[in-house]
Symmetry: C2
Subunit: 553 residues, 2 copies
């Protein structure tokens, strides 16, 4: 049996942009051809982007996507690339739909198509439709049932889509049919620690088939998901034979050797530090949102605190500091060091820096309304939100919300105030991790001989919202290290009050935190999108009623 | 065979409030006993409230709900009600879970329990888990597979839950087992026109079993859903034998006659006018949100326009005019008649009326930022939003957003401005329908000899946002009757551009409307909750990516 040269095209495509996504498939197929590949594989739903959500239910979109797939086949042949076998994902249409009352008769499928010699030669509809966590695929797709093993240059290639290897069944079908290679195309979003699950699972599936497994994953940000790439080839005996980098587009080449020659280990990239992974996921999510939504610049409030500093540096890393507008909006309660730290940060990252004191506007509200307490605190945050939105209306910036996951959990933010914006880069990063990422980023700069972007005092000073004299966060909240531990157990691991007490947490702290979390659901519903980086993010990953009287206590 | 006296308890329970919901089951069982019932049936997931969403994934909640079910059985027996057979819904736990990697081994079910003589005598797990539209049940529940036919006083009662009659299979199981009555417990949310689907389907299922079907549905608002009750009994030959009112709690009594005696037609309520149904659905949604979230009052901006007038009247109908705070926030562009109409409305409905001119605050922003164009328009809306939120912070009001579905569709609103609030009562009512509901409500008042609550000029004048001199909505938008037709086709029926042109719409209008709709997704994501009243509401019913370059043109 001849050798088979494989290219895994780890690309970033945009939901709905059929023309650009088609061009990406043609362009990367050309690169694969130049690198001598026989087979090139693209990620799940490359042509449509992923996830398309209820766009799947729009007939005009499905028809256009299907026309685009046929058109890609034609263009590849016209460009002299018809001899390659090209596998990419798109939306298909099932002839028979589920029989629920009122449903359309033709339902969409999550399809992998195989293209060669100017035509779609076969296709495979994903069997297992994930419908947990961030996934809603059972909602929109009809499952496939048939396996797909295709001959490519005399070798048998079994084809699966993403969740199909996370469940039993589809791999067994390929094993029964017999295959020289198991090819899996994926849209697997980043979450911390998931990469080891992927490679261990892939090795197990390779052993099941008795053939190597090639895993191609997409890269890039799409709303609240970040796809981290990290495509790889795993051998049946559990060895990782080749890996692509994380978060960057890449063409990973690997050769299935002839006959029973030994499997070769080629390019294997080093693992990244956990903080670097999370940091880069946030940057990728932000960069994708900015670019795909047609923004050229971002604006955010710079308070001198750690959250806004970290978000500003992420933004500079995502789109260049020259496209970042940092706005200092001091009030009568803002400390001198806060203003200095904000200016210092902006200078370090090359951002445009603007100072817009809020005093006169706040006073005009006070004169009109005579505000006290929470109302007086919130109005300051809302004036700042209005200023940022006014700058956005005038200059077209995307406004970034700088809230972290801890704040979001306990509702320690002002809705329509610091919560304004189109994207919230650290909404799934808890406060403890915010500090860790800031330190990691500064150290990374030092390692490269650069100036650390975040002023040290922004990292070391006690956090404060500065909405009243001498206020610090710890006036209202437990210490962040304790708070984040409780939140991790209650939110991410869904532990009950009894479990929390059994871990030794103070009942008063537990009751306070749980109550804050439960009552903040309405604020979270109106919060901007931001990238999921943990196993359980707020938003589509954790769907709770706003109206709920369930209390653990 | 003896006769069987049935009571359908059409009640309103709150998500998560196990204590209060348990008390409701005991109390309404007592009423049923007093009315001579042998069997009393409560809606789907009565004990937990519905829908519980990801609360189902919390073990502490599932255990508490199961304990509550057992406790209800005990209390009923203690109260001398053990001789009744009581059917109610709650969350169950399946012994075997779906086998996806990382899933919990015990998964929740959507369960109907049958209680008698102080114990749970049997239970039924819903087979068909709706996962389309507003429903996410496949996400959180494990399906049941076994039928449940229970003997009650010598009669065989087949038990199903809601979606089980909308799909084939479960009814056939009951028919095969044989039953004298098919009892279906439901959490079926309101949407316009659905009541006829329900009754026609029920009659078909009754014919399939050859026995009458008793359908009990919940009432009340839960976040973006409104349950409209309308419980009924259908005969196998398609006759509706008894009906409960819409939207109100009610105990519907009906007797299954002995042996082959003819089925009796008892209380059958008149159908409501379509405008009344939608109006009452909005009121029920709002009333439920206010009460279940512990608010006592609402605040909203009164512009003198039709949207805020309609919402204010709905609020007065929901919680009493004395608990409504209407705030007129005139600017230099507000017309005299607008202010007069707002004051007139507040007086008619007995609302607290407050005038808070925004001029000085807007000027303070202009002095600080020098605003023009959209920025200058939006700041006015945002100052109004801030004022309402400040009043909420001070006095605890729930702020109502007054945007309608047409505005939401085309993004004709200011995010963080007129879009602020915790609930948006008419977000699923298009502008054409807003006028119709206003006219219906005024006529309903006239029919009762009351003063029509909405000033006639609020209904008849050309709509205007009054954010610049002489502005009217039709400067920026097609006429509302045309706009609403295009939106209905594009949004609710997911028609493509070609379909729209084939209907004869002007291509320029179509392209403009489609572009506005597609670009407003990010605003809709941050909009408050509001009640679904149409077949396709924005929000959980229509889930589209924010980042999408799909354009029909």
């Amino acid at each position: 049996m001849p050798e088979l040269r494989i290219a895994l095209a780890q690309v970033d495509t945009c939901v709905g942009d059929l023309d650009a996504n088609s061009a990406t498939v043609v362009e990367w197929t050309r690169r694969a051809a130049e690198a001598g590949a026989d087979l090139v594989a693209f990620p799940e739903m490359t042509l449509t982007g992923y996830p398309i959500e209820d766009l799947a239910l729009r007939g005009s979109f499905r028809r256009a996507a299907w026309d685009a797939a046929a058109d890609v086949a034609t263009r590849l042949a016209q460009d002299g690339l018809g001899n390659l076998t090209v596998v990419f994902g798109t939306v298909g249409t099932s002839g028979t739909g589920r029989a629920h009352v009122g449903a359309a008769h033709e339902l969409p499928t999550n399809r992998a198509v195989v293209v060669r010699d100017g035509a779609v030669v076969t296709s495979y509809d994903k069997h297992h439709l994930p419908n947990y966590g961030v996934f809603d695929e059972f909602r929109i797709f009809e499952p496939g049932t048939d396996p797909c093993v295709v001959d490519v240059g005399g070798r048998r290639v079994g084809l699966l889509v993403c969740e199909d290897i996370w469940q039993d069944g589809p791999t067994a079908q390929v094993a029964d049919a017999g295959a020289d290679l198991l090819l899996v195309i994926n849209g697997s979003p980043f979450e911390e620690g998931k990469e080891h699950q992927r490679t261990e699972l892939a090795a197990r599936r390779a052993a099941q088939v008795g053939a190597p497994l090639a895993y191609v994953n997409m890269v890039g940000g799409q709303d609240d998901l970040v796809f981290d790439g990290g495509s790889f080839v795993a051998s049946p005996d559990g060895e990782i034979l080749a890996t692509a980098p994380r978060f960057d587009e890449h063409l990973l080449l690997w050769t299935l050797p002839e006959d029973d020659a030994p499997l070769l280990r080629t390019e294997v990239t080093a693992e990244l530090d956990p903080d670097e992974l999370v940091y880069r996921a946030c940057v990728a999510g932000l960069a994708g949102y900015v670019r795909k939504n047609g923004f050229r610049s971002v604006a955010l409030g710079l308070s001198g605190g750690i959250d806004s500093a970290l978000v500003a540096v992420m933004a500079a890393d995502a789109i260049g500091g020259e496209n970042v507008v940092g706005v200092s909006m001091p009030s009568r309660y803002s400390s001198g060091h806060s203003k200095d730290d904000a200016a210092d940060l902006a200078e370090r990252i090359g951002a445009t820096y603007r100072v817009q004191p809020i005093g006169p506007v706040v006073e005009s509200y006070e004169a009109a309304l005579g505000l006290e307490g929470v109302a007086a605190e919130n109005i300051q945050a809302r004036v700042r939100g209005n200023i940022l939105m006014a700058l956005s209306n005038t200059d077209g910036h995307l406004v970034l919300a700088t809230g972290n996951k801890t704040e979001l959990a306990v509702g320690y933010s002002t809705v329509y105030g610091d919560a304004v914006g189109g994207y919230a880069p650290i909404k799934d990063v808890d406060k403890s991790r915010v500090w860790a990422l800031a330190r990691w980023r500064n150290n990374a700069a030092l390692d490269r001989g650069e100036i650390p972007p975040i002023p040290e005092s922004s990292i070391t000073k006690p956090p404060s919202a500065e909405l009243r004299p001498g206020q610090v966060d710890q006036d209202s909240l437990p210490p962040y290290d304790l708070l984040d531990e409780v939140l991790d157990a209650y939110v991410e691991h869904a532990e009950g009050r009894a479990d929390l007490l059994a871990r030794g947490f103070d009942p008063a702290v537990v009751d306070k935190v749980l109550s804050l979390v439960d009552r903040a659901e309405w604020k979270r519903r109106q919060y901007p999108l931001g990238p999921k980086v943990t196993a359980l993010a707020f938003g589509r990953d954790r769907r709770l009623p706003v109206t709920s009287r369930w209390r653990e206590a």
